[in-house]
């Protein structure tokens, strides 16, 4: 390997002259995190998986739904077709969780975090920038996925008059909710990753909570049922449900029944609390 000692001339002025605009700023930290985010294969794969899952499930469901409708079976209005987004989001959240966790634990497992924190020694700007890049990217990708899904539904179900009606406020809320829910769950996973600093541990925690623990809380025992509505996945996914479904679930419910936006607010509160805890620990801990 050949290497030269000197720079090629342009950039070795005497130390101590700050004539240029080399300086640490938050927008630049965001830019740095964006470069880091988009230059990893895991990012590309998980985002692609998110998109494919949403569009794929909606497409399959629409085709099945169309054949059913064609067979003259009765379905309960437009609320029927829109339910698919709840299923799609339920699956896409797995990909989004992996991305959220790896966005931070990948730096700990490789040692990259030391480079990151040496460049941003106040630390918190790096955490916020990462969270921002993650949330915005997932928001955009799932928004695109929802838009494509809608176009597919229009194509498959439109002729039969069964495509979702965007003018309906509940339908619009579910579509927007899919995008918001996935973004929030990614941040939730990110915060857990930042707290645990370990890929496998954080993934097991988030997926275990969303897929196993929260279901255990459905066991008909009063103390569990009182807490259940406030668990992150249970609360957050309310925003994906048609009003009829929420109403049906509230029948005979022991605990509180949260509305769609109330439930989403509870998920956001989880995210806020965990991110705050992660921020405090990031400041305190040795890197």
């Amino acid at each position: 390997m050949r290497s030269s000692i000197l720079t090629s001339g342009t950039q070795t002025p005497l130390p101590g002259r700050p004539a240029d605009d080399v300086r640490l700023t938050f927008p630049r930290v965001v830019r740095s995190e964006w470069i880091k985010f988009r230059t990893l294969r895991s990012t590309i794969w998980t985002l692609a998986t998110t998109l494919v899952l949403i569009v794929g499930i909606v497409t399959l469901f629409s085709v099945a739904f169309a054949s059913q409708a064609g067979a003259g079976q009765s379905t309960e209005g437009d609320g029927g077709a829109i339910v698919v987004f709840s299923i799609a989001a339920g699956l896409a959240q797995l990909a989004v969780t992996v991305l959220g966790v790896l966005a931070i634990t990948g730096e700990y497992s490789t040692g990259m975090i030391r480079s990151t924190l040496a460049a941003v020694p106040r630390r918190l700007p790096a955490l916020w920038a990462k969270a921002l890049v993650l949330a915005v990217s997932i928001f955009v990708v799932s928004l695109v996925a929802v838009a494509i899904s809608l176009a597919v539904m229009q194509l498959v179900l439109g002729a039969k008059g069964r495509a979702p009606d965007l003018g309906d406020s509940a339908t619009a809320r579910i579509l927007l909710g899919t995008v918001l829910y996935l973004s929030a769950i990614a941040l939730f996973a990110f915060a857990i990753g930042a707290l645990l600093r370990h890929s496998a541990g954080a993934l097991a925690t988030v997926l275990g909570l969303l897929l196993v623990i929260e279901n255990l809380f459905l066991i008909p025992w009063k103390p569990l049922q009182l807490v259940s509505p406030f668990l992150p996945g249970t609360a957050g996914s309310k925003i994906l449900m048609p009003q009829e479904q929420i109403d049906a679930m509230s029948q005979g419910a022991v605990g509180v029944t949260l509305g769609p936006w109330q439930g989403f607010a509870v998920l956001l509160a989880w995210v806020a609390v965990l991110l705050t805890a992660a921020a405090v620990l990031l400041r305190r801990r040795n890197a």
């Binding site: 390997m1 720079t7 090629s8 950039q11 630049r28 490789t110 020694p121 305190r284 040795n286």
Partner: protein, 331 residues
């Protein structure tokens, strides 16, 4: 300029760095020398704020590192060659690091060229050899064109050409007026590279002096004399500033005099000398002497009682002497 005052770091019950105070000055290469586990890396991590001191402070150019507006312009650090995401290419790693400070592609290409990474810059870091990883670490350290460079074991894993390159690079950077602080557990490398050396062992500073002084202490200060009439010689040699110890009936160790002077005295008194040897030390001897009490991991000599190792009697004795000497100076 790096200034550490009473810097202490404890991990649970273990004290990694114990009340360390030193100053690293610009314009020269300062070596940070000590055995593995002596606290070199911990100290360096505290300088750039990756580890929080349990007590004490450390500043770079007058401020704590985190308080600088342009941290990468102040300090470029190679702390761990593996502080890079293995899934990203070297080019993108440097681009992302630079982006935090508005450092652009031109400078990234420049440091890639400087460190000889052109051919592998677009490859993922996971496949890098130790040497390439080290070069990438050095490229990251140089990225912000910093006034201060902190390099932890920079020659680890480099081929001989790379070792020479690092040596020339750090000397050049210091000649430009930058502060260069570089750690190693290899005293031979330090002897060639550093102007000034801070020796650390078990978390404490054992010596802090110019290289020449540390080597000087280890050489030329003692003369070994063997004579059948050693007892008479003792009386003749004794004087202000000269100490004579008798190690065995025919052997003397003379400190504070020279071989020439002793020879003259013996000739004048018509005393027979069988040996007259200035004991020359090296940085290596000085280092061994300084750190032998503070080795974290010591290799044991299986089956041999320490007394059976006296073949090495002279070197050992010499080392003891240097240790005592150096402690005086460091105080």
């Amino acid at each position: 300029m790096i200034e550490a005052h009473g810097l202490t770091k404890r991990y649970g019950a273990k004290t990694a760095v114990d009340d360390v105070t030193f100053t690293v000055h610009p314009g020269k290469v300062t070596g940070f020398l000590g055995p593995n586990g002596a606290g070199k890396s911990t100290t360096m991590r505290m300088i750039v704020g990756l580890d929080h001191p349990t007590r004490g402070t450390v500043t770079v150019n007058g401020r704590r590192y985190a308080q600088h507006q342009r941290p990468l312009r102040e300090v470029g650090a190679l702390l761990d060659a593996k502080a890079v995401h293995t899934g990203r290419s070297a080019y993108n790693h440097l681009l992302a690091m630079g982006a935090t400070h508005g450092i652009g592609r031109a400078r990234v290409r420049e440091v890639i060229e400087m460190t000889g990474l052109e051919t592998v810059a677009r490859k993922r870091v996971g496949g890098f050899s130790l040497g390439m990883g080290q070069r990438l670490g050095i490229a990251s350290a140089l990225l912000g064109n910093p006034r201060t460079l902190i390099l932890d074991e920079p020659v680890n894993g480099l081929d001989p050409e790379g070792v020479v390159w690092v040596r020339n690079l750090v000397r050049y950077l210091a000649s430009e007026g930058r502060t260069v602080f570089l750690s190693s557990h290899l005293m031979s490398e330090m002897a060639l590279t550093a102007d000034h050396i801070i020796v650390i062992g078990r978390g404490r500073v054992l010596a802090d002096a110019p290289v020449a002084e540390i080597v000087g202490r280890a050489s030329g200060t003692t003369v070994r004399v063997r004579s059948p009439e050693a007892a008479r010689l003792v009386d003749l040699l004794a004087g202000p500033g000269v100490s004579v110890t008798s190690t065995s009936p025919q052997w003397l160790e003379v400190t504070g005099s020279t071989a020439e002077a002793i020879g003259e005295v013996a000739a004048a008194a018509r005393l027979v000398l069988h040996e007259l040897t200035p004991v020359t030390g090296s940085l290596e001897d000085a280092y061994m002497a300084l750190t032998k009490e503070s080795l974290e991991y010591r290799s044991s000599t299986i089956g041999l009682h320490p007394d059976h190792l006296r073949a090495d009697h002279n070197a050992d004795h010499n080392a003891d002497h240097v240790l005592a000497d150096t402690k005086d100076v460091t105080r």
